[in-house]
Symmetry: C4
Subunit: 191 residues, 4 copies
């Protein structure tokens, strides 16, 4: 079964998520800069979520370049990942509107963590279908980044109740950490 | 006529439906967990609808793999299916906001039933175009799952007035029943 | 220049238009059928607009099958068509919320007429680029349907002020008239 | 790495931006033309933004025709461009709802300027990857239009505080200036 439609559908969902997140930035009724001030946390949470969706799209793009065929299990592992990402607009809006209050920041981290786990599951399902010795299998065998991210989210979530900004800092550090594209797959593909 | 644009258009519509359903989960103004509590039924109805759209995308994907060409009748049978699916965000929001009250649950079932009928019509139109002895024709000749689903919806809708949760249980059972990808087509394609 | 991206972009815009129109059907707060009653005109105007977008997608699909290459002029003629179609969700919501009052019905007709003119311009630009004796040129030389539609809209718009239902009837008749796919192009392509 | 998914994702984001901008035109509750009057500035700002998104899509289309492969840096330069364009619906709504007041018009210009800079960066990253003597490199070596646009935005933004209509006029002139498709790339491709 071809991977074309899975890629197209995922691109569509990610494109819409990234664009409707902006709808949470409600147009202010005032025409002066004071109207924009309450939107600053909403804007910051939008930027963070935008970067995260960009990272997922980027890594999804890299991952599927090494994929040859997709089975039903891959379709559902992919839909499972998209489910958690589809909650981003809601979480981004809630965290932004409450100016990074403890509980929304913690719940945002929970969604990030489940998305990371869903991505991890997707890679495992793909490896199971392609074999451990396939290009894909050797390229992402260790998946250090995936595992460390989940651990860091698990640390950040309770920390949000101590200091929400520390949790946000950890989310940002993980994002920067992932911004570097997955050279493992690129390297293996070239060899 | 190629099937590429029909697939791309359907993917687009389904990707948007799945993503705007989340907009019915209105961002709460409170920053504590009590703000999330009224969203639990909205979230549950979102999960159910997400799985249903996932199933339709999955089966649509499988179905069109065996399709060689599309005529005007197929385009309209497909648009008819997308019409019923486009009502999902509205129905999901109504059912969720009213915490699975009898009438919204029944009307949700009516939309599910019409979507199932529309999918059935689409398969019949495709078989009529490809011939009963084509790969497609032999693969979905019986369509036991399609027929039994329509019957179960017809049973669940009046039951919603007796007990809405029983109706929801039936919708969930049908969803699980469909989660298994359409091995009939896969099998026939491989032979 | 390839036509692939123009088709993909148009499919995307049409898929989004068709799906966000549904957002104008606001989820009622009541859980009984009386909550749905004020939505009946909104639903009817949604159905009419859905059929119209379906017709445009269908005809666009047929039209571009005979297209070999696109120039800048085609890109802009296409964007011009999409502009008028992008006003459908707004017009559909306005007409539906006011239960087919005279002015919204007339303005709806104006948007329909400009969309029809934009489609007509698009076909002329394509013929200019492909030549009058090309497959495309001979297939849509007369364009009786396009011309008669514009005339009928021009008749229906003032009639909306006399009786809005007569105008709606004319819009519906034109829709049925277009539901028949463009056999001219199909025929010419087969020969 | 193929450019297909980057194009598809960009098309998706631009298609959604163009379509959700229309959602800022709130359906009026009145059924007469007086209900439409406050929407005139919203409509005008929609038209301006629609043309701008059309220009970006057009130029993106032209630009990537000369692109052979994309690296991680291109993916992020492209996401950076899409980020600024994703703010268009918000800015369009704010400018329109406040009937072209000074501050919204100035901030609109700031977003336009950052989008122009992001497009400029994207072309530089592409040239760096393809080489100065590639088709792409020779085609957009000077990029007079890109540079002059950024300068004109920088002039228009402070002018908005003197007279917002002058700033809007400059934005419109730049749009008309860009409406002419990028013949440089087209010419070089044909040779």
């Amino acid at each position: 079964m071809g991977k074309g439609r899975l890629e197209a559908f995922s691109d569509g969902v990610l494109a819409i998520i990234i664009t409707i997140m902006v709808l949470e930035m409600k147009v202010p009724h005032k025409a002066d800069l004071s109207g924009l001030r309450p939107l600053i946390p909403v804007f910051l949470s939008y930027v963070l979520s935008y970067v995260y969706i960009g990272i997922y799209w980027n890594n999804h793009h890299h991952l599927f370049q090494a994929v040859h065929s997709v089975k039903g299990s891959v379709l559902w592992a992919n839909l499972h990942l998209l489910f958690w990402l589809s909650l981003f607009p809601f979480m981004t809006g809630w965290m932004g509107e409450n100016a990074f209050a403890a509980i929304p920041v913690a719940v945002y981290g929970v969604v990030l963590m489940f998305a990371a786990i869903a991505y991890f599951i997707l890679t495992r399902v793909l490896i199971a279908n392609h074999g451990k010795d396939s290009t894909l299998g050797t390229a992402i065998r260790e998946d250090f980044k995936g595992k460390i991210s989940v651990i860091l989210y698990a640390v950040a979530i309770p920390l949000a109740f101590v200091n929400a900004w520390v949790a946000c800092l950890i989310y940002t550090v993980i994002a920067i950490f992932w911004l570097i594209p997955d050279r493992r797959i690129e390297k293996t593909l070239i060899q």
